[in-house]
Amino acid sequence: MIRNITCVTCPMGCSIAVEINEAGEIISITGNTCKRGETYAANEVTHPARSLATTVRVNGGVYNVVPCKSSDDLPKEKIFDCMKEINSARVDAPVKLGDILIENVCGTGINIIATNHCPAK
């Protein structure tokens, strides 16, 4: 089977074709113009990961929500599970940029960190 992937490592946006066998192992990678593209395509096929940026509800803050991001890329298939956990969480104001809001989100070992300040009301 061939998976077609658009590389997003740089603005070139190369179309990369990854050939995989039935066990999901990579047979060939073609279409990339650099080494980084090859790594990106391989990761996309074997374990795609994405950074997540969203918001967490704040109790008693000047804003209802504070923006946050994952401390590292999350497995792509767990993004919606993570959203569910993040949306059910509540944190108390004040929140400082860099605060860990949720530890080990969905058992991924990755933390959710505040990306802005939210002073108390």
Binding site: M12, A53, T54, Y63, P67, K76, N87, N116
Partner: protein
């Protein structure tokens, strides 16, 4: 009346970078005026990451990028007033502003830096037929509702326009549980970054319909659906291609317009293509001592470039205040063919440094050559693997070259496939 050496209009990334640079260049008396409640500008609601790769060499979210500059503004003790609206600026650099605490403010400045940013084109600029139901808003408005106010403006969404804000909001609304039915793009290509098309649309199986637009909006109190249609090469809807899509929200991401009302009132000359002021290499407008930088000057795709440009304006304003600028001798920069515009539009050849010219192309090129000529003679030729309308390019004119030029000359930039 208050007196400042430099008044900066706008406390977003442009205004902050300009003020910080001016302070570092030795000007102490600086005041930033910001319309919103906090410094940071639009970055405060751009919670996604991808900012700062060029400038800081790391991926930051919008608020994090802004915070680095807010911290510097505070550390350098640069004065600022938030919740403050600038109403008018006169030719002699008197700034009139108003806020709840001070009331009306009259501020005499030696130099003014215009850093008001841009705003989104609204529905009224598009002339889409249909009812005036609620649920129609710009993508940036929806972004503020979701990311700052913390509530969702809709459940079933159609997005018109595939600029980056539209793509980012397609993902954001999807993550928060909305169904994004499709993104429609009038042009045969998206003006958004490739990475956003992949990570915001393809990741969530959101269809992108190119050469497609919204021709009708339905609903009495709330939007109930839109009619979309394919367009021909003249961007006219093709009869018979109409399709009804049920939705409760229509987000518009159809371009940004520099916010130049204050600039126009002063009488500053604007560039027809950028919709921003015509400036020299220090981003000084045709009014001496008034500078412009960031999205009010021309719409940028990366905030990193806004920062760099604004530092140049801040340095220019500082030099002006300190009386370090001599009588200029200008040459002019002109984009030819696919090169839609160049900033700065004029260059003082007595400048003692290199000058970077920023430009934007009107269509996509692969393995193209950027050629720069002076009065018809080629001076620079550079290969570029890829050029796209959504990605600003630049070319540097070395100071040694500038020295060879004479007043009134013309620099032209062209692209050859």
């Amino acid at each position: 009346m208050l007196n400042y050496d430099i008044v900066v209009v706008g406390g977003g990334p442009a205004g902050m970078a300009a003020a910080i640079k001016a302070k570092e260049c030795g000007v102490d008396s600086i005041l930033i005026l910001e319309r919103a409640e906090t410094l940071g500008g639009i970055l405060e609601q751009c919670i996604h990451t991808g900012f700062g790769l060029q400038y800081f060499g790391e991926q930051l979210s919008g608020p994090e990028y802004a915070d680095r500059f807010i911290e510097q503004v505070n550390a350098l003790e640069i004065e600022y007033k938030t919740d403050t609206m600038v109403l008018d600026i006169t030719e002699d650099k008197t700034v009139y502003a108003v806020n709840k605490k001070d009331g009306m403010l009259e501020i005499k400045a030696k130099s003014v830096i215009l850093a008001m940013g841009c705003r989104e084109r609204p529905r009224g600029a598009l002339n889409i037929a249909g009812t005036r139901a609620s649920g129609i808003m710009t993508a940036g408005t929806a972004q503020k509702y979701v990311n700052i106010d913390g509530y969702m403006p809709g459940k079933k969404v159609v997005i018109l326009g595939s600029g980056d804000i539209g793509l980012i909001m397609a993902r954001r609304m999807t993550l928060e549980g909305a169904k994004v039915e499709c993104v429609c793009e009038l042009m045969p290509y998206s003006s958004g970054l490739t990475r956003n098309i992949v990570q915001c649309l393809e990741d969530f199986d959101i269809p992108l319909y190119l050469s497609t637009t919204v021709i009708d909006i339905h609903g009495k109190d709330r939007v109930t659906g839109v009619t979309i249609a394919s367009v021909d090469e003249n961007r006219k809807p093709i009869p018979g291609s109409e399709r009804y899509i049920e939705c409760d929200t229509l987000l518009l991401s159809v371009g940004l317009i520099p916010e130049n009302e204050l600039t126009k009132n002063i009488g500053i000359g604007l560039d027809r293509v950028t919709n921003g002021a015509v400036v020299d290499e220090y981003r000084q407008t045709d009014h001496e001592g008034i500078f412009a930088c960031g999205n009010v000057l021309h719409v940028h795709d990366l905030v990193d470039f806004v920062t760099q440009e604004s530092q140049i304006a801040g340095e220019g304003a500082a030099k002006y205040v300190k009386g370090e600028k001599s009588e200029p001798e200008y040459i002019f920069a002109k984009g030819i063919g696919a090169v839609r515009y160049i900033v700065p539009q004029k260059i003082n050849i007595k400048n003692d440094g290199d000058v970077k010219l920023f430009f934007r192309v009107g269509s996509t090129f692969k393995n193209a050559t950027v050629k720069v000529s002076y009065n018809g003679g080629e001076i620079i030729s550079r290969k570029r693997p890829r050029l796209a309308p959504g990605e600003m390019e630049n070319v540097t004119i070395k100071n040694s070259m500038l020295r060879e030029f004479s007043e009134g000359g013309t620099i032209e930039i062209t692209v050859e496939a």
